[in-house]
């Protein structure tokens, strides 16, 4: 029973932390219809910027939002490489990802920055409540509601943004660029907005995960795009894709389910080294099951 409880708590905690990543990947992978490899650099960039600021005793919330701003900048740079230098969007992402590896090392100063003794957005928030006379512990029972509130705010911002004039133009840029340009939209600009927003969410995720796990590491971004894509695909496979709001909720649920499946895989005796294989199988299932289901029931 205790084991099940630990599993469920871990699922929600890690799921919500990685859901920001899933939402960022949703923007590029689904709305812009290409896998943006900038994520592999902007996710650790978020961790690196947050870590570098936290060890300098910067306020954790300031550090976390600075990480998101750094991620947004990375996304804008990828968009500039793609639009102004006319380089294929996947190659542009690979170039940004490569450059960010060195930048992340420079930001951190070393390959791994421990954050166990520095305050975090979690310890900071718990501290506020405890000043009000509560006596909250800094553990998974307090992290989950804190991340959930941040995630709910992030999801609402995304849903709201994609119903504005600019948001519609950004979505249409990925769906039918010729058409939206013929309605007077400068698609170079909407690509910057979309990639910037996407990588801001991804870096925000990296900053939160670093604070939750107690370290930022240069290798934390390896394979992260696939993790985000898995969340998107699992969410779609289970919930479908009706409206932007529905899609956002599906991706959050997809991330939580992905973390549960990973935790279960470890529970049934697989080793951490097997996790990439598990992810690959999950991706294949998420891609094929909806097709198969349509075939059987459709």
């Amino acid at each position: 029973m205790a084991q099940v409880q630990a599993l469920v708590l871990n699922m929600f905690e890690q799921g919500f932390l990685y859901a920001f990543l899933g939402l960022g990947v949703l923007i590029t992978f689904r709305f812009f219809r290409f896998p943006d490899l900038t994520a592999e650099g902007s996710y650790p960039l978020g961790g690196a910027v947050a870590a570098a600021l936290l060890v300098q005793h910067v306020d954790p919330f300031v550090a976390t939002f600075a990480a998101a701003a750094a991620g947004a900048t990375a996304g804008v740079v990828t968009a500039l490489i793609h639009t102004k230098l006319r380089i294929n969007n996947i190659i542009a992402g690979i170039i940004a990802m490569t450059a960010l590896y060195s930048i992340n090392l420079r930001v951190m100063g070393k390959a791994n920055v421990p954050l166990l003794t520095t305050p975090s957005v979690f310890s900071e928030t718990i501290g506020w409540f405890n000043q009000l006379g509560l006596d909250l512990p800094d553990n998974v029972f307090t992290t989950i509601p804190i991340v959930f509130v941040l995630l709910a705010l992030g999801a609402l911002v995304l849903i709201w943004f994609f119903t504005t004039d600019l948001g519609l133009a950004v979505r249409a840029t990925g769906q039918n660029e010729t058409m939206i340009a013929s309605l007077g939209v400068d698609t170079d600009r909407t690509k910057m907005v979309g990639l910037g927003l996407s990588n801001a969410f991804i870096a925000f995720s990296g900053a939160l995960v670093a604070q939750n796990h107690g370290f930022a590491d240069i290798g934390m971004g390896i394979g992260i795009l696939v993790t985000g894509a898995a969340a998107v695909l699992i969410g779609e496979a289970i919930f479908g894709d009706r409206t932007v709001a529905w899609w956002v909720v599906a991706v959050i649920c997809g991330t939580v389910i992905y973390r549960l499946l990973v935790a279960l895989a470890l529970r049934v005796g697989l080793e951490p080294v097997d996790l990439r294989l598990v992810t690959a199988v999950l991706l294949l299932l998420a891609l094929t099951v909806p097709r198969w289901r349509r075939h059987v029931f459709g």
Partner: protein, 267 residues
């Protein structure tokens, strides 16, 4: 009076410098007066689509200039010209966004050439406006505002594209065989809608068609293109007096091989 659109010596080569070089537009001069409805005919590869794409800014010219209301727009990107130019292509998939809803498509079209900020795109008043604009079309789209455009038929999508092209201040309408993918009955409905909207919004229109009868019946001016040049340009009474046979004869005279062309099939 300054023409609304004027092309001077417009030239465009594709695959320049290679054995497969094609001269798509060869020193084309064209002045279109405000309110003109010009139909454009010609065989495949005559340069009709390249002409419209050059006006819209989709192709860079090798030589020549294009001016809109006396203002040189030769180097202006597509999105800048779009403030005054509405455009519909042959493929119903091109001029609307399939993954988005009817109301979202119309909301995007309503902001043509305007700043797009963080204002809510689809408001209750916008929905009322869209429903009122869609109702007269007669395709029942006003009750399906929240439906994805991808679920519509080709005719419904072209009708929506027409509304999107005319809803917000564009003064020039470019139609590149926008009926070609539709069945004859739907094509008639969409053509009727085209004529109504062009009159209602007082738009200057250039329409490519492969139906000679349409080209003669519709509009006040007809041009025929061949090998990148305008080889016939008639208007008003002279245009009204044209016959399909006369056009085919004119076409032969220009050396066009009409036997293997859709033009003949469509007569």
């Amino acid at each position: 009076m300054t023409p609304i659109l004027s092309l001077n010596g417009v030239t465009k080569r594709f695959h320049g410098g290679t054995p497969s070089e094609v001269l798509a537009l060869s020193e084309v001069n064209l002045a279109v007066a405000a309110g003109d409805f010009v139909t454009i005919i010609g065989s495949n590869g005559a340069g009709k689509s390249t002409l419209l794409n050059a006006i819209a800014g989709l192709v860079d010219l090798d030589a020549g200039t294009i001016a809109f209301e006396g203002r040189d727009v030769t180097r202006a990107p597509v999105y800048r010209r779009a403030a005054v130019i509405g455009r519909i292509d042959q493929d119903p998939g091109d001029s609307t966004c399939a993954a988005m809803t009817i109301e979202e498509n119309l909301a995007m079209a309503e902001r043509r050439g305007m700043h797009r900020g963080l204002r809510r795109a689809v408001t209750a008043s916008a929905r009322a406006r869209f429903a009122a604009a869609l109702a007269p079309i007669g395709l029942g789209l006003q009750t399906r505002l929240a439906a994805r455009v991808g679920t519509l038929s080709g005719g419904q999508r072209q009708a929506l594209a027409l509304l999107m092209a005319t809803i917000a201040g564009a003064r020039l309408l470019l139609l590149d065989e926008h009926l070609a993918a539709l069945d004859p009955r739907t094509a008639d409905i969409v053509m009727g809608l085209t004529e109504r909207l062009v009159v209602a919004h007082n738009m200057t229109t250039l329409m490519i068609t492969h139906k000679m009868q349409d080209a003669i019946r519709i509009g006040n001016r007809l041009i025929m293109m061949h090998e990148g040049r305008i080889i016939l340009d008639v208007r008003d009474a002279a245009k009204a007096a044209l016959t399909v046979d006369a056009l085919v004869a004119r076409f032969h005279q220009a050396g066009g091989d009409i036997s293997e062309d859709r033009v003949l099939l469509a007569t």
